[in-house]
Amino acid sequence: MDSNQDMAIIKEKENLKFVIVGHVDHGKSTLIGRLFFDTNSLPMDKIYEFQQASRELGKGLEFAFLMDHLQEEREQGITIDTTQAFFKTQKREYVIIDAPGHVEFIKNMITGASQAEAAILIVDINKGVQEQTKRHSYILGMLGLEQVIVVLNKMDLVNYNEKRFNQVKKELEKFLYSINIKDQFYIPISASKGDNVAKKSINMDWYKGLTILESLDFLKTKRPPENKPLIFPVQDVYKIDNKRIVVGRIETGVIKKGQLIKVLPAGQIIKVKSIEKFSEDVNESHPGESIGITIQDPIFLERGNIICEPGKELSLTDTFKANVFWMIKEDFKKDESITLRCATQEILCKVEKIEKRIDSSSLEVIEENSNKLKNLEVGKIVIKTERPIAIKTFNDIQELGRFVFVKGNDICAGGIIMGIE
């Protein structure tokens, strides 16, 4: 990394969100507590509150209590639900997302991880790769998280042994490579003692790399996808002061007053009459902006329409391949119709084929050409929607390459689009 890029990181006043994942008891909550403690991010009265809560349970100061706030979590020493907290270094502000390590709470882990730009994968040096290490890693890959810092925790319990570190590192490298995760750093730490978290360890002379805090400052924040063609999913249409305002959020590209746009799925081409933001005069808008537009011709628009640029439009399709992660207790049966939501599009579909059912922990194929999916399984499937919709592969445009399945009142699976037929 050259010095110019270094400067760019220093100037960055963005905050970066990262998630901490790993097997139960490998030390996620403790690491977070340590990060906060060593960066002086804890208010005095909070420290007092943790001491009080720890004392009531007859424990010493428990770092894990910082994130584990529910009574049940503290008493049982587990994390039930995902949570977020804020801390800053001199270079940047961070949001830490803590994700539960127990298999029962995997949908909470996914909820947390889906909001992150990077991840720390924590592994107990004594235990090595365990069930949730694998499942969480696989989910990170599926969510498209490309920046992963691997930390090997509890080094103090193996006398800071270099050989053991290299052994587990090798095991992890092989595994992460097999699921296409680009691990960037391997850091030997002790979260409870503080080695290589915010301060360089004095117990591991053999390790010449970065501390966790230093490695975090190397991560990159996500850049808005401006250079891609316009995608503006319609969220709603308001009638305000005799104006019909089409509202939504720009996912990719730029929209300008006066430009021609194409409305999918019907394909009408119309002109943008104005861009509407409350008490602002705007001529163009960029990705991430929640805006309204008015149009010149009186055509009917509704939620689920996708606005794009003529000539650079998305193709419509009703059949595509996807990987889905099933996350409710009830099985999915191939014959049932299910609702798919992708951006603001919502449509009934059928799963034509379940090519493979995969165990998300061992990553082994359980069955080929199956007719069901069970909780915590990944399916490689072929979906057929009732009508054609506007989608992309996940590798192409994430915003239109990911979807959820909804059953009854709840989201029951997340999926990414692998190929369009």
């Binding site: 006043k13 963005e14 905050n15 002086n40 208010p43 005095m44 009265d45 909070k46 509150e49 009080q52 809560a53 009531e56 994130m67 706030h69 529910l70 009574q71 049940e72 039930i80 639900d81 995902t82 949570t83 977020q84 907290a85 804020f86 502000e93 949001v95 949908k107 909470n108 996914i110 909820t111 889906s114 909001q115 808005p224 969220q235 709603d236 308001y238 305000i240 305002i245 509202v247 959020r249 509407e276 933001k277 409350f278 008490s279 960029h286 991430g288 902006e289 929640s290 309204g292 939620r303 996350m327 939501r341 990911r402 959820v404 909804v406 009854g408 009142n409 709840d410 989201i411 997340g414």
Partner: protein, 276 residues
């Protein structure tokens, strides 16, 4: 786009998403009455109100609810009435008349007082008005329990928050359907910090109650009922000074709020009973 604008745009997206799913447009003559916003008149909910005005181009299509315990600061009432008129709001003042008549008060027990005058007042209102979704300005950094929240968070008919089985949320896809007896708490500002709120208030010049600004070496950092709020030592009498103070403070925001303090799990208890 800078950090504050990202937050603003994301909040507007969430506000519109909830309105689309839960308002009764087209189904009842009363317009979008199945949705409402809670306005405590504090800095956060006033910011949320500002964001709602942005989302709906200055015309908020649903009622704004003030839960009045009778113990609020006098300035709160003045501020409320001034901006209700100025922003043309459809204000509902919500009180638990029965509990107030019984003389429920903080000195007789804070858990009961908060539960009766806030939670149960709101329960009565929801039953009466049949609201399906309520916007609230809670933030993750305020309290560890609130940090566990979802953006769209269901409450059952008894107002219970089932924190052990929260619905998944991913890629801005939320729980947009609910059983008839449930209502959804919508939290568009969950990802904001206290500092973000003040930086946004400054950027947008949002009016806030004068109690937040230091007078004689004291200011309120968090505002609720007068008997249960304590000011902090501070000389921050302008927005800039408050922002500066927050960047270096070692005291947490709600340190002056009694309901967080009484017992370690008081907030969890309050929230599991339906508290905000």
């Amino acid at each position: 786009m800078n950090h504050i604008l990202k937050l603003e745009n994301q909040s507007v997206f969430i506000i519109r998403e909830a309105y689309r799913q839960f308002s009764a447009r087209g189904r009842s003559a009363s317009g979008g009455k199945n949705v409402a916003m809670l306005w405590s008149i504090g800095k956060d909910s006033t910011t949320l109100l500002w964001l709602c005005r942005k989302a709906f181009f200055g015309k908020i299509p649903f009622p704004v609810v003030h839960i009045d315990t009778g113990y609020k600061f006098k300035k709160i009432y003045q501020f409320r009435d001034k901006y209700t008129q100025k922003w043309n709001l459809n204000l509902i003042v919500c009180k638990n008349q029965e509990a107030m008549a019984r003389g429920v008060s903080p000195d007789k027990g804070r858990l009961e007082c908060c539960t009766e005058l806030k939670t149960n007042a709101l329960k009565q209102l929801i039953t009466e008005e049949k609201f399906r979704a309520l916007y609230l300005a809670i933030r993750r950094d305020e309290h560890g329990i609130r940090a566990k929240e979802r953006v769209f968070s269901p409450r059952d008919e008894n107002f219970k928050w089932n924190y052990k089985a929260q619905p998944p949320e991913l890629w801005d896809q939320y729980k947009i359907k609910a059983k008839d007896e449930e209502h959804l708490r919508i939290h568009p500002m969950l990802g904001w910090t206290e500092l973000d709120v003040w930086e946004y208030i400054k950027r947008e010049n949002i009016p806030v109650i004068s109690l937040y600004f230091a007078k004689d070496g004291k200011r309120y950092r968090s505002i609720g009922c007068e008997p249960c709020c304590n000011p902090i030592d501070s000389n921050a009498d302008t927005m800039d000074k408050i922002i500066k103070e927050l960047k270096t403070t070692t005291i947490s925001e709600r340190s002056g709020r009694a309901q967080d303090k009484e017992k370690v799990y008081m907030m969890q208890k309050l929230r599991s009973l339906g508290y905000m």
